[in-house]
Amino acid sequence: MGKIVVNLDVVMAQRKISAGALAEKVGITPANLSILKNNKAKAIRFSTLEELCRILECQPGDILEYKE
């Protein structure tokens, strides 16, 4: 069974932004960002995804990937 993988750390490295700074800009706690980065999240709100895409200047597909 496939699963959705969060490639947030890759995009963050490309944009040279730290976890703390991103969490603050997106408006989520560093703990929640860590859950997202470590692929432990069960779901992601559209509002969070929108903010991530806006701040990281990317598309949802750059952050989320479906893997078999």
Partner: protein, 148 residues
């Protein structure tokens, strides 16, 4: 002022009193059974099976009280929707069903025990439903906790 915390503490105290009563009863089982044989409530030929069954009931009762104590302790510490509580509820439910077996043996020699057998089975069934509800709530809470 009466509140949720005091209610939990009171239930915890009641559970521990019941556990102490359960433990104390272990030492007086033959005397209690003899008393009921003397009164004619229990048939005399069933003395040994009834004594054995009452011992089994008390042991299962002790297990149930232990799990209730742990469950209440978790509730007191605000750990309500956790998988460990689901395990305790599952254990208590199965223990209630298990209690039906010695109760069935006692019923052969003391018909009034049939109602305790029924009550135990029914309690096991109710707890099974409660366990299923809490199990689902644990899943929902986990999903909610991991939604970013």
């Amino acid at each position: 002022m009466w509140n949720h915390d005091k209610s939990t503490t009171l239930t915890l105290i009641c559970t521990r009193i019941a556990a102490a009563a359960d433990f104390t009863a272990l030492f007086f089982v033959p005397k209690i059974v003899d008393f009921f044989i003397y009164r004619g409530t229990v048939q005399a030929e069933g003395r040994m099976p009834v004594i054995t069954s009452v011992y089994i009931c008390l042991v299962i009762g002790g297990v149930i009280l232990y799990m209730l104590d742990r469950l209440l302790n978790n509730i007191k510490h605000e750990d309500i929707f956790i998988s460990r509580n689901v395990s305790y509820l599952r254990g208590i439910s199965w223990a209630c069903f298990a209690l039906c077996v010695p109760c069935l043996v006692i019923t052969i020699y003391c018909q009034t025990f049939f109602f305790i057998l029924l009550a135990s089975g029914f309690m096991g069934l109710i707890l099974k439903v409660v366990k299923n509800v809490i199990e689902k709530a644990v899943l929902i809470k986990e999903e909610n906790d991991y939604t970013v």
